[in-house]
């Protein structure tokens, strides 16, 4: 299966009046495979939107190349395979959702019958069936974002490019949009998900690229990025002081969770085995054992602070 999105050394810079370069994206090489939800994270101004605009052919690369479904970006033919939800968009506010979808449907080259069927379906999916005859000017931000999603989905694209889909929404709106995205993911869409809201990316994405000041800092699956190599966490129930002091030698840290349970962190399999042996030889029980994970936020802060650490 071919890559959905592939870029090779994609670079975008501007020359200012004095001839100095202002680089907004530097040497980006990524690939997104079919059915994957790819998170693209970084603070505002990191180069996320620039990348999207390059992928949509709104910008031209200064260097490097990019393909979508093996077609060079900007190719009109490939655009029906892409659904794009821009950040904080505005739609003709005198149109109703139906009219708006009909407009974008026609731009996608669909027949009016197909548009009708598809827009009914989409309005149902995004939960706007009841507001189909309402002018967009009366819509809340969350509703607009849902219309935006419907618009992006009008031609039933295989790839969705979502730029900050939940920004500016209230918590409930975020959950609605997130659920929608998860549903689309389940349907098998490939998604390029750009956001600076890391916990959302963590919840939705399979793979993540971290970008800062135009540079790709880290890329990998959630697992790869978030688990800390070798470290394991075990929860022990029914401990006593004596047991804890025996475990202590083999562990990195012990924290008492409550009167029954304690969390033991070890730095290697060997040490984990030792702890298990000790626990077995006592009256305590091993409740759980897992790789130790950190949050994406922790990772992000450490990466950005540490510069281009791999």
């Amino acid at each position: 299966m071919a890559d959905v999105v592939r870029t090779e050394g994609l670079t975008k810079y501007y020359l200012n009046f004095w001839g100095n370069k202002a680089v907004t994206l530097n040497d980006l090489s990524i690939s997104i495979s079919d059915g994957e939800t790819f998170g693209f994270v970084g603070p505002n101004g990191a180069g996320k939107t620039t990348t999207i605009k390059l992928l949509l052919g709104l910008y031209r690369p200064s260097k490097g190349k990019a393909w979508i479904y093996d077609k060079p970006v900007g190719d009109v033919a490939v655009k029906n395979l892409i659904g794009y939800l821009p950040e904080g968009p505005y739609y003709y506010d005198f149109l109703t959702p139906e009219e708006l979808l009909s407009f974008y449907g026609k731009l996608s080259g669909l027949h009016s019958a197909a548009i009708k069927r598809r827009s009914d379906e989409l309005l149902e999916i995004v939960g706007l069936s009841g507001a189909r005859k309402l002018q967009l000017r009366k819509f809340s931000k969350g509703m607009l974002q849902r219309v935006g999603l419907a618009q992006a989905l009008i031609s039933d694209p295989k790839l969705l490019i979502l730029d900050e889909p939940t920004s500016g929404l209230d918590p409930l709106g975020r959950i609605e949009i997130r659920d929608l995205i998860l549903r689309l993911k389940k349907e098998g869409k490939s998604i390029l998900y750009c956001s600076h809201l890391l916990n959302e990316v963590e919840m939705v994405c399979d793979r993540v690229a971290v970008i800062h000041k135009g540079n790709l800092l880290r890329m990998g699956t959630m697992e790869e990025l978030l688990s800390i190599e070798g470290e394991l966490e075990m929860v022990v129930r029914g401990f006593n002081e004596e047991l804890l002091s025996r475990i202590k030698e083999a562990s990195v840290s012990i924290s008492v969770l409550d009167s029954q349970e304690a969390l033991v962190t070890v730095d290697s399999r060997v040490n984990a085995d030792k702890v298990i042996d000790i626990v077995r030889g006592s009256s305590a029980v091993l409740v759980s054992m897992a790789d130790r994970r950190r949050s994406l936020e922790d990772l992000f802060v450490s990466i950005v602070k540490g510069g281009k650490a791999s």
């Binding site: 605009k53 949509l56 655009k79 821009p86 505005y90 974008y104 731009l107 080259g109 935006g148």
Partner: protein
Amino acid sequence: MKAAALAMTTFKEAIRKKVLLVLLVFAFIFIGSSLLFTYFSGGEEIRMVKDVGLTGLLIFGLLISTFLGMSLIPAEIEKRIIYTILSKPVRRLEVVVGKYLGAALAVLVMVLLMGLVFMGLIFFKEHTLSPVAMLAIILTFFELLVVLAMAVTFSTFASSTLSVVLTIFFYIMGSSSDSLQYLGGRSDSPLLKVAVKGFGYLIPNFEIFNIRSQVLHGDAVPGLYVLKAIIYGLLFSAALLIVAGMFFHEKEV
């Protein structure tokens, strides 16, 4: 089809603009004021009504076309609607042409409304409808199409203020084209002669659409001439739109 969808949306958006409504009201007042003029006109009442009316139609048509044309594409970029449009399988030239056609439709509606008031006034004064005046209105519309295309073209590479200035500048240049040609023809320098001649082709000659003099003096205008003038207007607009498409094609939005 795609251009038509863009055109219809653009048209709907254009006729909702309050500025246009205000301009239209002013145009009605201006055209109607020709009735007041007749009190001072020394027996040339109908001339005043026709001249003030047709010129009013032109002036307000120019304002409307320039205003619509200059904001057509930049507003789309500013509101970021262009991103969603261009993310669909649409060619950039289609966007330019579609938006232009929508604005042209809006201009047509405006011209029709003003023309209706004007013809009503003439009918009220003369009790006949002047066919030449109707032709003059039709030609004014095609003149406005060229102005609209000019404004759109400038807006693809210049700021909105600059596009307005350029549109007005080239309108004035195009209106004085006859004089320029005449003066160029009298020049002694062959280089200047050629330059002026070439200039005449590069800048639309708006005087071609001006048959107000014929309306005022009751001269007939051959139908074939009107047809040729319309073709000229359409061709020039097309040429301008190609230029606009060329610039927009390269533009990073």
